[in-house]
Subunit: 170 residues, 2 copies
Amino acid sequence: MPDDHSPSTPDVPNQGGLEEDLVTAVLTASRVLVAISARSLGEVAESLTLPQFRMLVLLHSRGAMSLSRLAEHLAVNPSTAMRMLERLAAAGMVVRDTRPEDRREVRAALTEQGARTVAGATERRREEIRRIVQAMPARQRTGLVQALRAFAEAGAEPAAPHRQPEPLGW
Amino acid sequence: MPDDHSPSTPDVPNQGGLEEDLVTAVLTASRVLVAISARSLGEVAESLTLPQFRMLVLLHSRGAMSLSRLAEHLAVNPSTAMRMLERLAAAGMVVRDTRPEDRREVRAALTEQGARTVAGATERRREEIRRIVQAMPARQRTGLVQALRAFAEAGAEPAAPHRQPEPLGW
DNA sequence: GAAGACCGTTGCATTATGCAAAGAAAATGC
DNA sequence: GCATTTTCTTTGCATAATGCAACGGTCTTC
């Protein structure tokens, strides 16, 4: 537990305490989720780094796009995206080609192998989650679905102006 | 949404579908949580990288320890931990000293500044979560606390033998 | 007291990253 | 129609994170 300021002083008897409990619960759950994400990668990836995987996932979910868009969505410098593309291309995960309409652009797309890699990691992640979910008391599950949806919706885009593009890509 | 194999074919009418819905809901919620973690760092950190922050968090939660332990908990090579410590020491976040009992060991500890940095980031993260939680329909909150606890407990240590030490440090 | 185990350190290589400048290509302005 | 500006990619340069392997102190053990 990296940082756990326990429920602290329960100033407001009921509602206040519940809220802090919830904050703590979310914080705790987030550690589990992050660990799962990291693990699901390590098993499929080998030789593939996390940033590289993020790029593959992006291409998988949004389809082929230019280097600029790629860098934008990943929130990295174009030069960084450029070099990652080089390595991924060398690894046979993506292909690049210049667009005839606009010869400045370089479009990157997943190869078969790249797509398989992404699909594999995703499935593995779902399996891990599924395993945990199955270990939960059944009566808790129903409530969790709705609650999590409400949570994700409420936290979709808090205050950030223009940041819907793949927070961290996983 | 990096990878979202929508609920796919709901083969089993009720229970099966619910379970897949839950898996998807968790997957979605995990993106929000990871984004929060990343954001809470970026605002406090400046000039501080994520791995460096993880090290600070570790020292904050478990107290001073040797370089070996540090590397072990962070799951990195001692040489990596070594160099990170150098940079953090240069930044005034940690101090190092040799132990008299065993002059091989180098103990690292947080400085006042280091502790403040960790506390600040944690508080910011809690605030973000709190804000989202407050945006949720009140009726969903109660269920979420219990459900999340059940989830975190079920997923605490799935199959990994000895891995309770800070999944990813945040 | 010598062998072996443990610990930190340093050298070497690769990846990720950002900033800045250069080069090529398209869009705009007049 | 041509010059200016904008957009995109690429390359140079610097720093951080990382792992592996080798080295040199410092215990521990027999």
